[in-house]
């Protein structure tokens, strides 16, 4: 019975460890294209302060695949108007350090594979371009960017 209790406690501890996630993804900044007139392309670079910013951290050494769900349009609050959004092979960047010079650009439309060390932090910035038409209705438009990280432990 005593042995059973010890093993049960070990099992419980392991279960608690299992419940604690090794991977965290946090949004640090929303993406803001600011304000402008219609008919003028609004381009945002990943180094601009308005770019979306995420932080990824893994407690264990792992191989990570980053996929990003990008909006095709920014939509008005009532849903009646939309502005097309586009992204290219330099719209996003990642870095192990939170500064501009160390960034590596990548295409947010394609999955990105990274090798993460234990407790390694990775920053990801995402920007893009909006194409409001000349007759675009004056109002606020919004869209969302979802960054998903999938990890597989290193062998």
């Amino acid at each position: 019975m005593k042995s059973f209790c010890i093993i049960f406690l070990l099992m419980l501890a392991n279960a608690v460890l299992y419940c604690q996630s090794d991977l965290t993804v946090v949004k640090l900044n929303d993406i803001s294209f600011g304000t402008d007139f219609g008919g003028r392309e609004k381009r945002l670079d990943h180094s601009d302060v308005g770019a979306a910013k995420f932080q990824i951290q893994s407690k264990i050494e792992t191989n990570a695949t980053i996929t990003i769900m990008l909006p095709s349009f920014f939509i008005s609050a009532d849903g009646s108007e939309k502005i097309s959004a586009s992204f290219n092979d330099r719209s996003a960047a990642w870095s192990m350090i939170d500064n501009v010079s160390s960034r590596t650009s990548f295409d947010p439309r394609q999955p990105l594979s990274l090798s993460l060390k234990q407790n390694q932090i990775v920053y990801v910035w995402i920007a893009g371009t909006l194409h409001p038409s000349r007759s675009q209705r004056a109002c606020k438009y919004s869209g969302s960017i979802t960054l998903t990280v999938h990890t597989l432990p290193k062998n």
């Binding site: 059973f4 099992m11 299992y18 949004k27 803001s32 600011g34 219609g38 995420f54 109002c139 960054l147």
Partner: protein, 163 residues
């Protein structure tokens, strides 16, 4: 013994899971505000014509000599109109007092059916289905008996704020 074996199996099972794959995600919201295009065009100056000394001369906003402006912006939108009138008309070093009259507005170019602004400085008005808003402004002046002859002018400024 049977319990111990079963428990060990569970432990091994959990150990296996603890090194399993993981997925996490976060979402950033994006925003962009589009400003509406708007223009104000002067269509006509306010013209008092020739004045008779000692007599008040008034140009009503509905008169043909009234100043006329056209604002073009968003359709069916409430805008704030502010008109700044000159306090005096000037001819060199000579001045002539200018008196304000409440301006009028309409969504079509018809002063006769226009609506009076609440204040002499303007107020709120709504653009038409084509985004147009016509504004007319008049005024009143009087040349004193010893008023120097000449052409007296002043500047009238209109500001339209579209939200």
């Amino acid at each position: 013994m049977k319990y111990i074996i079963l428990t060990l199996l569970f432990v091994l099972l959990f150990c296996g899971f603890s090194t399993a794959q993981e997925t996490a995600s976060a979402t950033a919201m994006g925003t962009f505000s589009v400003l509406g295009y708007a223009t104000v065009t002067k269509l006509a100056d306010l013209n008092f014509g020739d004045l008779i000394v000692g007599v008040n001369t008034t140009v009503q906003p509905t008169d043909a000599q009234a100043a006329e402006f056209l604002f073009t912006g968003d359709v069916n939108t409430v805008v704030q109109v502010t008109i700044t009138f000159p306090s005096d008309l000037i001819c060199g070093s000579n001045t002539m007092k200018f008196h304000e009259i409440s301006p009028i507005y309409n969504t079509i170019p018809d002063a006769a059916s226009a609506t009076l602004f609440k204040h002499t400085s303007g107020g709120s008005a709504t653009t038409g289905a084509d985004g147009n808003l016509y504004i007319w402004a008049g005024g009143r002046v009087m040349a004193n008996k010893n008023q120097a002859a000449g052409i007296y002018t002043g500047i009238m400024q209109i500001v339209v704020v579209q939200p």
